[in-house]
């Protein structure tokens, strides 16, 4: 398992290749990548991501560990960025490796659902109208109940 909280961009291709290599018994590798989305076409200038150093790493490690307990996984990778990002930049990625795809897909979805509302990150959108904290959505909280 590897968890990385970083300001620097990551190379999705290189991370995925490195993750997939060396898992000869794993038939499935699933990756998910979150990208800064400009929801109101053209108005988002910057997405600022604040986090709680210390707790963030701890929460991500716990969430990844829980995924490993629930599914039969060969490996888990979580990378999440903080700082100032522009539309189109990659915010985060998760990767899961499993013998079969069902475990890999489900574990990746579980990781995403938990990252959304249980990892201490807060997003703020900077537009030409000013800055606004992104509000948590009820659907994201509700999504946890299916696990």
């Amino acid at each position: 398992m590897r968890v990385s909280v970083q300001e620097a961009p990551f190379d999705l291709g290189a991370e995925t290749a490195r993750f997939a290599a060396g898992h000869q018994t794993m038939g499935a590798v699933v990756t998910f990548t979150g990208v800064v989305r400009d929801s109101d076409a053209g108005t988002l200038q910057v997405m600022e991501i604040e986090h709680y150093p210390g707790m963030t790493e701890r929460a991500l490690t716990e969430i990844a560990g829980e995924a490993q307990r629930r599914w039969s996984l060969g490996d888990v990778l979580v990378i999440h960025r903080h700082g100032s990002l522009t539309p189109g930049e990659m915010i985060m990625m998760v990767a899961t490796a499993a013998r079969h795809r069902k475990d890999a897909f489900e574990a990746a979805e579980f990781l995403m659902d938990y990252l959304k509302s249980r990892a201490p990150f807060w997003k703020r959108e900077v537009t030409d109208q000013g800055t606004d904290w992104v509000a948590a959505r009820d659907e994201d909280e509700d999504a946890l109940s299916r696990w």
Binding site: L115, K116, R118
Partner: protein, 81 residues
Amino acid sequence: MNVLYFAWVRERIGLPREEVESSAETVSDLVDELVAREERYAAAFADRSALRVAIDQELSDFDAPLKGAREVAFFPPMTGG
């Protein structure tokens, strides 16, 4: 203990962390003490249901005891991913 604030809680209070001398038994008691101090705390804690709390970097709740806690953090619901 160390009290930390994040996102708009940090902005309303005007600082990211502070050392607080308190004998509060629970998180709620600590919030009551802070709110009694100054208006900016009252503004930040006006709606406690809109806030989350972590004790020593573990998510907790407002009824939780503070005995032995070194670090308490207040923040809005998280928006990761």
